[in-house]
Symmetry: C2
DNA sequence: TTCACTTATTGAACTTGTTCAATGTTTTTA
DNA sequence: TAAAAACATTGAACAAGTTCAATAAGTGAA
């Protein structure tokens, strides 16, 4: 059950079996049904989660009622509202399961316990945050410089497995365009082939 | 000279005077003239830097020759290409001084020495990376949802001191719009008042 | 002080993307 | 399995933003 998690951690740092066991035991499994929420706006995010099954979207709703999807998370991805979780303040985000899903959750107290007692865990989260930050910088540059057509094509190429599990509405909300316009982009691409 | 740096570190973690001294001694001061580069594309970024004087821009040039500014850094800000620095791979970014500037630089070997010998430093950089990540998430959402007018107004409100030191070309490259369009936005705002 | 260079403004024509409304298709759910 | 709900497509009118070219204004550097 925690096999996926252990593999994921091993990609970033090296732990002894004992350390790995101790750390992974701090996570609680949770099942969450499609269309249900792991986090809603105004709540304080009480967890950092690792997805072992299913699919989530992490999104924001702006003052005009439009959704912007910050990221998706499938198996092997981590999910949290890092701002709400670390600073214990109300979240501005929603985390919703788009499929029947399973996650492993660690709460703040246990995460801090790990920081204290397993110094390598501090490194683990530093390295992971760095990696997600680099990826977001890359996405920021792409959003500043590329046209919607190109961002759509890039998305399909970069996340082919994810792409198949999403609706066009969701992809549009991630790309920052209307779903009608995405539909027109899809038609244009189809005609070109 | 390292006063600014010490204050900055103290905002994130608590170090004894000895620890603080040891850590800050790992930094080398460097003066860098206006229009000179701290990092150029294809170079490996050999430093993590803390700005004590002046102003930098960190930017990317896309395949069409357009610049996207990832961020600016003035006194009290950190600058690096985190991807290039941590993974020792060629950078895709430029870091240029927009004013005569001074920085304190730490290299990879000394930073790793600090991680080994001063465990709190690991926490320092985890916390700092988290904060910059949260800020970038916020910017990402704003770029997906807000119009250029609003992003310009937000920028002025959020960074009033920075705003005055930048040209409209630089602000436009940060907002992801043409400078001609920024000029029209400015006119529209001026007329409204 | 002058010359070169960079920055800022403006207008016109154009491209990209939005909005709204209508219609068709697929998926869920009772 | 029928009805409801969610998703996808399309067109027309519109808004946001770009491009290009012309001109003005500001800023060094010699």
């Amino acid at each position: 059950m925690t096999e996926l998690l252990k593999n994921n951690i091993s990609k970033h740092i090296t732990l002894s079996s004992k350390e790995m066991e101790d750390f992974c035991n701090l996570f609680q499994p949770k099942t969450i049904q499609k269309k249900h929420f792991l986090l809603s706006e105004h709540e304080v995010c009480k967890f950092e989660g690792f997805v072992t099954k299913g699919l989530f979207r992490v999104y924001h709703i702006d003052t005009n009622g439009f959704e912007q999807i910050l990221y998706f998370a499938i198996e092997n991805w981590w999910i949290t509202d890092i701002d709400s979780f670390t600073n214990e303040k109300p979240s501005q985000l929603f985390i919703e399961a788009l499929e029947d899903s399973e996650v492993l959750l660690i709460n703040k107290k246990d995460k801090e316990f790990a920081y204290e007692n397993l110094p390598k865990v501090e490194k683990l989260f530093r390295v992971m945050t760095q990696k997600t930050h680099v990826a977001l910088q890359r996405r920021m540059i792409d959003n500043l410089s590329k046209t919607a057509d190109q961002r759509y094509i890039d998305f399909i190429e970069k996340y082919p497995q994810l792409f198949q599990r999403l609706t066009n509405l969701q992809i549009a909300a991630y790309l920052g365009i209307s779903h009608e316009f995405l539909s027109k982009i899809r038609k244009k691409i189809a005609n070109k082939k």
